[in-house]
Point group: C2
Chain length 399, copies 2
């Protein structure tokens, strides 16, 4: 009998998004014509921008004329250099410190491969489930860091030593972004405790507040403690194309027997062994989002989503509820009138035909909240607002 990775036994029976999928499917079977509005999984609602479509087609033509075979595991240089110029200008990085991937979630999970098997991982509660579940599968130890309403949903460094900590800002699911001062606190703590911060910046394009940094490397000392993960999914509508990247400063090290090993080098070696690069056409499309018409088009999409979020938040607040997020973030964290967010999810799904995500799905501390995504069209926004207004009483019934 071949034996299983027993860490699978520690996973709760069902994965959040799959459970939601099953509930939606069950509704569809009962009510085939239910006019569903999806504010749940944060998937894009707009088609790919025209310049990005053209760049994909140009890249396809290019592959029909010239051989573009295996690229390097860290991604094509044209994209890495452009990213450094546009996204990290003046921060002193070299192309060896940036790695392209086929999506941020891969890197966020796979990075754990570099760490000691018994490492202790700090995870904010509530959290994006992948941090939690991938840590369980790796058999590493989890230390939950509560992120609560009384602290304005800003997580605070714990008293104990941790080997690595996942931080997400602007945060998924709470929609709260950390200011420079908040992040400085974490960086100083990480330096003191020799902790590596895994900084998930998937939503940085939604930042508008002046005191919220767009990259953690704006803050002094960050290069000595932080790995930053970025995504094209929400900033450029790439959820169906798959592209992300990871910045690993050369100042970062892991240790064995008092010898230090560059994390940049370890990651390059791992990627060399386990991957064969990322689609050339998709990298070309990513390149096109970084300047000129492509950049303007994707910025306009982000602006539309952000505005939808603001209007949605305003609507819910006008019904007498408390809401967080929705300012530097595409997510709204809605304080609901019950402590059973799965029950409220079922109510919104079955009565209003609106798909959301119950806060409980993001961890124990998420209970009592719902996450709403502003990745919706204006049409969906208006219909959602209508249904909320028409059912205001029902929404509050459990208050």
């Amino acid at each position: 009998m071949a034996l299983m990775n027993i860490n699978f036994l520690q996973l709760s029976r069902s994965y959040l998004f799959s459970t939601i999928g099953e509930k939606v499917k069950a509704l569809r079977e009962r009510e085939k014509e239910a006019p569903l509005l999806n504010l749940g999984v944060g998937d894009i609602a707009l088609p790919l921008a025209p310049t990005i479509v053209e760049s994909l087609k140009d890249a396809a033509d290019d592959m029909g004329e010239t051989v573009h075979g295996y690229g390097s595991a860290e991604g094509h240089l044209f994209l890495r250099e452009k990213l450094l110029e546009i996204e990290y200008g003046g921060l002193g990085f070299s192309a060896e410190e940036i790695f392209i991937s086929d999506g941020i979630v891969r890197d966020i999970c796979d990075i754990q491969d570099l760490f000691y098997h018994d490492a202790t991982v700090g995870i904010i509660d509530p959290t994006y489930p992948a941090y939690f579940e991938t840590t369980i599968l790796a058999g590493k130890k989890i230390h939950l860091i509560p992120c609560l309403e009384e602290n304005g949903f800003i997580p605070l460094p714990p008293d104990q030593k941790l080997d690595l900590v996942y931080l997400c800002s602007p945060n998924n699911p709470t929609g709260i972004a950390m200011t420079k001062a908040h992040l400085k606190l974490w960086i100083d703590w990480a330096k003191e405790h020799n902790t590596i911060l895994l900084f998930d910046a998937a939503y940085e394009k939604f930042i508008t507040s002046k005191d919220v940094p767009k990259t953690i490397y704006e803050i002094e000392g960050a290069k000595e403690v932080a790995i930053e993960f970025r995504s094209f999914s929400k900033s450029a509508g790439f959820t169906g194309l798959r592209l992300g990247y990871t910045v690993i400063p050369k100042e970062l090290f892991l240790y064995s027997n008092k010898e230090r090993h560059s994390i940049t080098s370890l990651w390059r070696l791992r990627q060399d062994i386990k991957t064969n690069g990322i689609s050339y056409t998709v990298q070309k499309a990513g390149f096109a989002t970084l300047f000129g018409a492509g950049k303007k088009e994707v910025e306009k999409q982000v602006e539309l989503y952000a505005n939808n979020g603001k209007k949605l938040k305003h609507c819910i607040e006008s019904l007498g509820f408390t809401c967080y997020g929705g300012t530097d973030s595409p997510y709204i964290w809605w304080k609901i009138p019950t402590t059973d967010s799965w029950e409220y999810f079922d109510f919104l799904l079955n009565e209003l035909h609106i798909i959301t995500i119950p806060g409980r799905g993001f961890g124990l501390s998420g209970e009592g909240f719902m996450r709403l995504s502003s990745f919706i069209t204006e049409e969906t926004l208006n219909q959602t607002i209508n249904r909320f207004c028409n059912h205001g009483d029902k929404l509050c019934v459990m208050k």
Copy 2:
């Protein structure tokens, strides 16, 4: 100090393909204009076929009109169903048993996540390096299974129990394909020992011999012991696009505390957590290779590579050398007149400007051989043959 995954310390200092890359780079620095011929890394030599280019462009247009966001982690149903129809017709699989990925090497490495941390992994020597290196990184135990000239480079099941075994047929690097009888031997052994076979079928499109199965599932009992990995890289020129797939029969189980767990379900759960699907455009391109004009075009490319391989093998044999492979495979396994294949690699690179791969790079038992790739154009083929013929004496000098 955050501690490192100490398994990294067990890796030999440098990765085969990186070492080759460095040696080529060093030559380029000495001789800028060296007319290099690349018969090394098995990368494609022909541009993408016209119908595949068109399918990529159609998919791009499609994404500009309709939202194609996150697909399911196991890939789009249109591709999975078509693959079952075209590649596995009559074998009784359902779409739940096939998983699309962004390249075969990912799945080949990641599948180990499902197995017990202390599992013993059988690896054929010589071997494709990823099997070996990924097993080291996972900290699992390695049992080498020699694959020697005296057995016609057919690996034989060992006496001891193993948890999983990587088999590659047509084999990389030896170019030898296993017949139904050979594979039946492995399947029966795996059943008896409760071993899971990880069957790498990346090169199945090169099979022409009647007694060599194109999928392991042609053989009775295979569904109870084997996972099959396939690739679009070499069969359709997708090395720069990234697409592969994995078949996991529902008859396969792993065990914990006498409870059995479906490997299909475990893999789905793992992929749900750690990935967000595969590029829509690339899946559409893969679909286009499976029928009509697209299929004919990619088959023609494979035929050209296969013919180049036959001519190359004939040339080397005519110089008095022994060669294996090159029949059901794109690789030629050339018995060289020295027991130092890195030395011979340097000679071929620096004197003939031909890039190959030294057998030693595939393991101890690969020593004394060179791997030549037939993924070359006719022009490269002719130049290679010319150089070999003009340097016949030098090639044999170490005999």
